[in-house]
């Protein structure tokens, strides 16, 4: 029997969460005051959890590596947040959101968690609106919705193209309020570098003050890791430059199992790479697929300018292959379709690794509607175009500007060039229903955990999950653990476990400076990224993955022999920060390849070339792989696989079709 107990409550899917809530152990207010909780990361999950827990009376410490909690990368989410409100009267329900998420995740997510997510989704919107988050409204004053990939209802709430920003600022303001009230101690420009465990339980962290370089010890009865995903293992991704796996990886090495590391999401609509200097990729919101049409020329290697290619010589391949969902198929499907076309030689742009996202049809269509509303009879084509542009500008203006800024091309006149890019990681620390990892007292929330999105996340669901975990799940589930901790006094940080943990961190830092190699940290990061993208990216195969594992091992050795970390330990030193993060990415990269190699099937974001249908669709293997792969770190870069079987009781498992 596996070591994994997912602790899913008994009962029917609709009742699990409500029954759990009414039976979970509680901590009385007086005891909460003496219980300390450490929250690492200040994004949607971290800020919302810290604020909610502090409101309840716990003593909370929050850590983030940025200069302010408001900078966390949740801020960059553009499109929106899903919630089963059914405000549009289009047949949405908790069950449908649950169903869409499970299906979108290619039947590789845990039913209990996903249903809970769908249940609390509506409360998130209520909470955010009450906080003063200015979500988009209709003229009647009611909230507005738009549609997103992988669904047939309009359940996405948004604030222009800045939904993540607005939601994060809402959570941040709730957090700042608690800081002002003295209930939360904030440690910005601090990076967690080790977890401290005592008698098998998480009891604190070692953090580095990034300004002074001083190592600090912090005790907590529980530690919450809300540290986001690990997409930067690919070097080029839509993640922020600082996004890293270090906190989760240190936890993993201290006993937390890593779930489904190979599930990475490649977002179909990003601005293509322009050269070697590229440091990050910029996402064009999925909402653009609402109105834009994606195409490539029907002729291979067509060098004509896009506007010179006549309509009948264009291949709207998504509409052709998936008539039911068209341009709104889920991300993994859209990404693979783009790769397929480019690999087959139909790609566009200088690199030939791009497809067109065209707004001409939308501009024409909106132009006609606007002419009608303005009462302009017989508008000229120029007028129509102008009206259409105005509407498009109102809806997507900031995105279009961003595109023009980066590429130097005007997307109102020429189709945008897009290509898939690494965006999100569905894998993460394995957690049970309580969001607790395999280390008692250590939790993982938001993108840092693996639980809700299966093998592929639907658009506008990341914000939903981060806030669900922080506002509405952890405040209840943490009681199950802390109710038994009320007799544990705060452990002084001169305890041996803290001393040892700090020494480990210090020795790694010393090691970096001792190498005095010849190559920069970024050099190694770029090489790692290339291996990962080429061999563990959008499509994977056995041969490539085996090669990748060898290459990564060699890279790891070289890194520890030849990296050059400039500056000193006791000062503000971004190079040292990067070195630690890249060291962890290299180890993670190997595990991702091992996981991808183990999973002999294609599902969601994990596409193994050996396992596809004749039409090139993913071929899932429910008989052999309907499980969560949870990897236990055995030290020295070796891992043991534990399987959590996935049971589908509320949903009938089926082939995932968007045709």
């Amino acid at each position: 029997m596996s070591k994994l107990d997912s602790k899913i409550p008994e009962g029917s899917i609709e009742q699990k969460w409500s029954k759990y809530k009414s039976s979970v152990a509680l901590v009385n207010p007086a005891n909460k005051r003496s219980l300390e909780i450490i929250v690492v990361g200040s994004g949607l999950a971290g800020s919302s959890a810290a604020a909610s827990l502090a409101e309840m009376g716990y003593k909370v410490k929050v850590f983030c590596f940025q200069d302010s909690p408001r900078r966390a990368h949740s801020i960059a989410a553009q499109g929106g947040i899903n919630a089963a409100k059914n405000y549009q009267n289009d047949g949405d329900s908790t069950y449908r959101l649950f169903y869409d998420t499970i299906k979108g995740g290619d039947y590789r997510a845990r039913e209990g968690n996903v249903h809970r997510l769908a249940e609390v989704s509506a409360s998130i919107i209520d909470q955010c609106v009450a906080q003063g988050v200015p979500l988009a409204r209709e003229y009647g004053g009611m909230l507005s919705n738009r549609s997103f990939g992988g669904t047939q209802v309009q359940r996405t709430f948004y604030a222009a193209g800045q939904t993540g920003q607005q939601l994060l600022l809402g959570a941040y303001s709730a957090l700042e309020r608690q800081i002002g009230l003295g209930a939360v101690e904030m440690y910005s420009r601090h990076e967690m570098l080790e977890v401290v465990t005592i008698e098998g339980k998480a009891r604190g962290i070692i953090a580095r003050d990034l300004i002074t370089g001083k190592l600090e010890r912090h005790f907590g009865h529980a530690v919450l890791l809300c540290t986001g995903g690990y997409g930067n293992v690919f070097y080029l991704s839509t993640n922020a430059m600082g996004s890293n796996v270090t906190a989760a990886w240190k936890a993993h090495k201290k006993g937390a199992f890593f779930g489904n590391p190979c599930y990475t999401q490649i977002h179909p609509t990003c601005i293509p790479v322009s050269g070697d200097h590229q440091s990050k990729l910029t996402l064009m919101s999925e909402s653009l697929r609402n109105d834009g049409r994606i195409w490539v020329p029907k002729k291979q290697g067509d060098t004509r300018k896009p506007n010179e290619i006549p309509e009948e010589e264009r291949d709207y391949y998504l509409e052709r292959r998936y008539p039911a969902f068209g341009n709104l198929v889920p991300r993994d499907v859209a990404s693979r379709a783009a790769k397929e076309r480019c690999d087959a030689g139909y790609g566009v742009g200088a690199s030939k690794m791009a497809v067109y996202l065209d707004y001409k049809a939308a501009i024409d269509r909106y132009g006609k509607t606007k002419a009608k509303t303005l009462g302009v009879d017989n508008p000229t084509p120029a007028q129509l175009r102008e009206f259409g542009k105005q509407v498009v500008e109102e809806k997507y203006g900031n995105l279009f500007e961003m595109y023009e800024q980066i590429t130097g091309e005007n997307p109102y006149e020429v189709p945008m060039r897009i290509y898939p890019a690494v965006h999100y990681t569905m894998g993460g620390l394995w957690v049970d229903y309580n969001l607790m990892t395999t280390v008692p007292g250590m939790y993982a929330l938001g993108e840092a955990n693996f639980s809700d999105h299966g093998a592929n996340r639907l658009g506008a669901s990341a914000l939903m999950q981060g806030l669900a975990d922080g506002y509405f799940v952890i405040p209840y589930t943490i009681g199950a653990y802390l109710a038994n901790e009320i007799r544990t006094k705060a452990i002084p940080t001169d305890h041996e476990a803290f001393v040892t943990a700090e020494k480990e961190v210090q020795s790694q830092i010393d090691k970096f400076f001792a190498i005095k190699g010849t190559k920069s940290v970024d050099h190694f990061h770029k090489r790692l990224g290339k291996i990962m993208w080429d061999k563990c990216g959008m499509a994977r195969n056995e041969k490539g993955l085996k090669e990748a594992i060898q290459e990564i091992r060699a890279l790891r050795e070289e890194f520890w022999k030849d990296v050059r970390v400039t500056g000193e330990a006791n000062e503000f030193n971004p190079e040292l920060e990067k070195a630690g993060r890249v060291a962890d990415f290299i180890e993670l990269g190997e595990l991702m390849c091992i996981d991808a190699l183990n999973r002999n099937e294609s599902c969601g974001g994990h596409f193994r070339e050996e396992f596809q249908t004749e039409e090139g669709e993913a071929n899932r293997d429910d008989v052999n792989y309907q499980y969560v792969a949870a990897w236990e770190n055995k030290g020295n870069n070796s891992w043991e696989l534990h399987k959590e079987e996935l049971k589908f009781e509320a949903i009938k498992i089926a082939a995932r079709s968007y045709k």
């Binding site: 909470q127 609106v129 409204r137 800045q162 920003q165 990050k280 971004p574």
Partner: protein, 251 residues
Amino acid sequence: MSGNMKITLKVWRQRNTKTNGQLVTYQLNDISPDMSFLEMFDVLNEQLITKGEDPVAFDHDCREGICGMCSMFINGRPHGPKSKVTTCQLHMRSFKDGDTIVVEPWRAAAFPVIKDLTVDRTAFDRIIAKGGYISVNTGNAQDANNLPIPKPDADKSFEAAACIGCGACVATCKNSSAMLFVSAKISQLALLPQGQVERVARAKNMVAQMDAEGFGNCTNTGACEIECPKGISLENIARMNREFYVANLKE
């Protein structure tokens, strides 16, 4: 390498808060017009590391213009010569081959330099902690559509809320005033029905904290509005003034 622009950079180097700094000149060849401004700094740092020198420390994170972390004063303007973009969104095609570019950190007593181009902006957080919120504990909320908000109000509130807290307003203001930042938050909440309950206390407490942090006084030159990468309007400062007057009249 990928391009052929030659750029002369004059960069402010300062070891830490306590020491003095100075401008140091660097020569860069092979710069591509497709590079972002920060990617040019990556190239510079790569060169410095190869030579065993200390790379330039600068704040940056999302590199897509939303986190508000990047903060360079470029040729005398925050976030460089283009309007409505952050430094990370600025591309080298906005410069010419052979240009000399002077890069300095945000300069304000309230934003002490940490190292090189990195400054400490936690003063902004402390201002928000004094009232930049609506006191609603998790779980207290009513149904979101029970509170209709006229679209124009919601839109205006959103425009104010779009502030990314980068501090360009302070950096460019001849007085290092933080009024655009503070007024954006006060406006966002004052425009919404949810924000009415704490309106008086919010205006007084946030302004008091802003003053305590050592920001200068607003003289309505309007530089902040022009340099704000998110186009936050001066209208917000006028609204904050009104909020503050009313708050003082009431209490």
